[in-house]
Amino acid sequence: MSKVLDPAIRSYFFGKGYTDLRAVIVDTWRRNLASAQNELTAMRGLWPRSWTGKGLALVRAAAATSVLVFGTAFFLVASALHVTILMTFFLLVYLGFTLVYLTERAYLAWKGFFPVCPDCHSKNPLAEYFCPKCGSVHRQLIPSSYGILYRTCKCGQKLPATFFLHRGQLPAACPDCKRMLGDLIEVRKIFVPVFGGPAVGKSSFLLTVLRELKEHWAPKRGFAVTFPDSGVDSEIHRAWQGLAKGLPPAKTVTNLPRAINAQVDRSGQEGRLLYLYDPAGEAFSETEGLQLHKYQDYLSGLVFLIDPFAVPEVRDIYADRLAKVESALKPSQLPAEDAFARVLIGMEEHFGLQKGGRLKVPLAVVITKIDAFGLEQRLGEPAVQARLRSSPTPEDPEAVRNQLVRDQLVRWGLSDIVHQLETRCPKVGYFACTSLGRMPDGTAQPFEGRGVLEPLLWILETSDAMFRAERRKQAA
C-alpha cells in the first residue's frame, strides 16, 4: 500500500519469510550433500570387509542414493509446500490489511475525520506518528505489511495501526511543518472563516464568539471548549481580560493568531475541532489565498460581517451624530459590496468556487456594531421579540430575524448585495450583533457582546450533526 519504509517489523509473510525460505533451501541442500558424502565414505570403508560389512555397505550406498534422489524430491515438494503456505498467508494478510485500511478510510471520510495541522493548516490523510517508547517516526501507520491491526516498532513497542484502535492517542506531528499535533487528530474539523472589510470588527467578533461559546454555551450543555495551542490560549484569555476591563481588542495585527483552533468536546462523545479564521480585512493577498486554499476540503460555512457605518445611506442618516463618535466607532472604509466581491474573488481563486457558481456552504451575513445609535432596537433581539409579540400568528424567531435584517439591508440600499448573496449562496442567514455591547468610551465598564454566537451556531447546526442534535435536544 505504501513504499515508505517505517522503523517497524514487517509481517513475516512479506519479508523475512522469503529470506528464510531461501536459507532453508540452501541449508537443506548443503546438509543433504554432506550426508550423502558421509554415507558414501562409510560405504567405501565397509565394502572390503566381511559379508556383513558388504551388507552394511549396501545399506549406506542405498542411504546415500536415497539422500540424493529422495532428498531432492522431498525438498522440492517441501519447498513448494513452504512457498504455498507463505503465499497463502501473504494473500490472507494482504486481504486483511487492505480490508481494514479501506474500512478505516471509508469511515474517516464518512465522519470527516482527518489530521489538520493547527499551525500550517495542511490537511493530510495521515499524521506522522511517534513510537511512545523510542520516539521513532512512523510515517505510514496504517494497516499494512507491517501489521493488520498492530505493528511492532523496531524497539519492540506494539503500536495500533488503525483509527479503530485509538491510533490518534499516539504522539503525532504534521507531515508538512513537523509541528506536534494535539490529541484531536482524528476528529471532525469545522472551518469557519470570518470575512469583512477592514475595521469591520472581526477580531472583536471572534473574541466574543469564543467567550460566549466557552463560558455560556458549552457549560450549559456539558461541553468543554479549550484552545489546543498553548500560546493562543494565553493570548485569548489576555484579550478577554481586556474586554472585561473595557479595553477594546487591537486591530487584527496583534499577537492573536489569525486562525484560532477551539476544541469542542464532551466526555463519551466524539469531539470537534473548530477553526475560526480571520483573514486580513484588506482581503486576499497571495499568501492569504494559499492559506485559505488549505481549508478547501473542510469549509463548513462563512461569516460575512457588514459594518453598517460603511454604508453611505447609513452614514447619511447619522451624519450629524457620526462625526462625534467616528473615532470610537471606527467605521470600515471598505463598502460591503466591495468586501463581498473580494470574498467571492478569493473563493473563486483559492477555494474551488467556479465563476458564477454557488457556494455549497451556509453563509451568515452579520450586521455588526448595532449598539450604536439604537440600531439594536431595530435589528437586534428586542426588535425580533417585538415583532413576535405583535404578530397575530406564531412565527419562527429565526425567520423573523432573517426578514428584519434582510429588509434593513435592502432599505439601506444594499439590495444588489442581498441579491448577489442569495444568488451565489443557497443558504443565507441574516443576523445582527454587537461584539462589544457598547462603543468604546475609555471607561473600564466591561464589554459584553450580544447576538454574536447565533451566526456561528446557525452555521454549525446547518453543517454538523452533533450541533444539530444538540439544538434539537435543547428545543425539546
Partner: protein, 81 residues
C-alpha cells in the same frame, strides 16, 4: 563336508565323478538347482531388505536435514530494545 570343500564342493564332486549314475546325477542337479535358486532368493530378499533399510535411512536423514534447516533458519525478526 569337510573344511575347504563344503556342501557345494561335495555335490559337484559327486556329480562330476559319474558315480551317481544317470538318475543320481539328475537328482543331484535338481538339488543343486534348488539350492542355487533358494540361495539367490535369500540373497535377493536380504539385498532388497538392506536396500529398503538404506533408502529409509536416507529418507530419515533427508527429513532430519530439512527439519534442522527449518529449525536453524526460521526465526522471527529480532527487535532491538
Amino acid at each position: 563336508m569337510s573344511k575347504g570343500r563344503g556342501f557345494f564342493g561335495w555335490l559337484m564332486f559327486w556329480i562330476l565323478s559319474g558315480q551317481l549314475g544317470c538318475i543320481g546325477t539328475a537328482i543331484a542337479l535338481v538339488v543343486l538347482a534348488c539350492i542355487v535358486y533358494i540361495a539367490a532368493q535369500i540373497a535377493y530378499q536380504v539385498g532388497r531388505v538392506l536396500l529398503i533399510i538404506g533408502l529409509l535411512f536416507g529418507a530419515g536423514i533427508t527429513m532430519r536435514n530439512y527439519a534442522l534447516a527449518l529449525y536453524h533458519n526460521i526465526k522471527p525478526e529480532k527487535v532491538t530494545p
